[in-house]
Symmetry: C4
């Protein structure tokens, strides 16, 4: 079985783990209990009281979606796997599957006096997930370079900078969260929305440069064009 | 890696999320507790009392199955992906994974005085899922058309009309549910059954026109015939 | 996209649902609570008291595994899909995802005075799953025959007989369970073990006839030989 | 459908089950409840008290990851399936899906007087999973050899030794756990880390011997080189 298949298997396994982690987030939202069931409209305030769970669900889903998109985008640059990558990928998935827990803690305590600890814990979990991705990328770059020969040094450096800046970002929000939990949470959400918008624009730029690909070119050319746009 | 593979990955990830969301619905059905375990037959009334959960489970499963079938049918018309589509698909999956929660609320309160709020909430969740699909389809059609060149304007308009009429439908049931929750729920279920029947007949019509495909034709012809039957 | 891909997608979605349903069974086993934690060995009787959950878990896992193997074996005979099959498959998956609930009820009440109802409910769920498979197979055979031309009438009749005899079997155990729950449960388990053993021998017979396939033959021959052994 | 596809299906189904089992582990970690929510910092001790769950989660995740890697590595050596393998694989998956339960028991009781029973139970579950893998490998080797002709006897014996030594190891830790639970748990974790490190080095050695594969060789050569390095 070729190396390409080895990568496909890592991708398939990772995709399944990401998909399940995303879906499990909703289990943590408990059905609200209404004491006075007979009074009409009593469910409204009970549903409204669940808002921290909704917010935590949204934020955590966005985090996992971004992590999944990044994981996939980086994986596409590889031509082969390694033993170290297999387990670095496993560690990354460990941090991914852990996310439902800090999310549940966040939902439970974000609107209490414990908010700073809850946001700190959540932000630290994001930091760990990012650390897992940095480690994953390190295993891609050394000791043996697993990237396709067509991936330029500039493209490689670009991903390195992205993962390291993500690390710095979560380090700052984790530190900030202890004093200003709500501010830290708003910054995390805001930057994540920004990442999504930037990523959409970037991919669309790639797409538009790439649009002649729909008319089948020679395979090598089509493959090269995608990579070359990254270097820009 | 080609654009076709990019679409396959989106499909595989989405399929996993749909499959998990469908399966998680059953977790919300709690095992009934019998106080007088020693009295023979005491489990009967306890099991019967779970009927709202069964009903909610059936309705929600049907909703997700229809959403999955629609998602797949539309995805088959695409030849390429875009950054916007990636995240529009992510938003659609967010609304899909959320469904177990309104389903659990529906199961808990459909036979209480809170029924109108529970059905309203459930119907609004369906509306949001439909909104996610409308957004998804919008990203398919513009700014860059991601559809296969062989997909006619008529076929494109057809899907647009279907998604918009679904939106109008859920808007009406959501409004209705506040005054007539049970009626709204029956209308939702009835129309979903109707959709399934119509969709079966439509696909079978496509199939029967398509039946010569079993004998391998030239690939282009086989592909074209499927699409041309849609325009009819 | 060809019909073959349509079938692969149904298979992938079904596989994911089966896999999740299998895995969710374990969630229903609650961690035993020990009142006198300080007394050494107090966990033993608590763990032993969970045995009905273990038994229910084993039986339900075997049921789902057999259903998965049958589903897959039948799916391999198809060359094309239909709208009716898509939703018949959806109904089958509905009955599959439902299984964790009757399993949990069985685990909770199998060693109480409510055993007859619990086994009746579990057996009825198996009956419904079998009904789903009968319906699925009906949609394969008519109105349009979706089977590969190389599948003989004898092979088709064989699957029909298997599904119908399974239906009769579960009908009997469901009826029996109301008076003799434990006997019914033992019969269900015993017959399932028998099915597995028979199925292993059958497949191995197919394999041994098939063993020259490892040396690549002409594709048509290799495909034909698998099917022809079924007719024997 | 060819035998290769039969193996791919087993791999896909197994991958899904492993992925879900890994992800479900986190569900068992309960959100800590804080009695005095108004007192700042009250969440810290509550979060710290969850440490046994974290430890159990880490150890169980590592076990499942190793099992998944071994399962996949062995599966790559096969060229065909058999009926016995199908159900041996099913039994292996049964033991895999069971893991979240002993993990939850371990988390609940590892820091109580019941630790010996909890670790014994967890270690016995690992032993059963290993037994499942031994059975799986037995079905691969006999009565019909399902391995690729290019897999040498030495490579086959190597896997046999690995699975049997794993069995001996877990037998020892299970016995030890009854008297020295914490020591047994540390030995299990330590040896698992060792396995991961060894496995990384081994795969990297394979990779470095294999590195010319990136430049496409003749397919037969590329496939052969991977297998021949195993025999070394």
């Amino acid at each position: 079985m070729s190396q390409r298949n080895e990568l496909q298997r890592i991708e398939a396994f990772s995709d399944a783990v990401f998909a399940i982690a995303c879906t499990l987030l909703v289990i943590e939202i408990g059905v609200p209990h209404v004491e006075d069931v007979l009074r009409p409209g009593a469910l409204w305030p009970a549903l409204k009281a669940v808002w921290p769970s909704f917010v935590a669900y949204l934020i955590a889903f966005a985090s996992l979606l971004i992590a999944w998109a990044n994981h996939h985008r980086a994986l596409k640059l590889l031509v082969r796997s390694s033993g170290a990558l297999l387990y670095a990928n496993g560690f990354l998935l460990l941090t991914v599957t852990f996310m439902p827990f800090p999310t549940a803690v966040l939902a439970e305590y974000v609107n209490t006096a414990q908010a700073n600890i809850a946001v700190f814990f959540y932000s630290a979990a994001c930091l760990t997930m990012n650390l897992g991705f940095n480690l994953w990328w390190l295993c891609v770059c050394r000791p043996v370079r697993l990237l396709a020969p067509s991936v330029s040094k500039a493209a490689e450096r670009r991903v390195t900078i992205q993962t390291l800046s993500g690390f710095t970002f979560y380090l700052c929000t984790t530190a900030l969260s202890y004093w200003l939990p709500v501010t830290a949470l708003i910054i995390i959400s805001g930057v994540q929305v920004l990442w999504i918008v930037m990523s959409v624009e970037e991919e669309d730029r790639v797409e538009s440069t790439d649009s002649e690909q729909v008319e089948p070119l020679t395979p090598v050319k089509a493959h090269g064009s995608w990579l070359s746009t990254i270097e820009v």
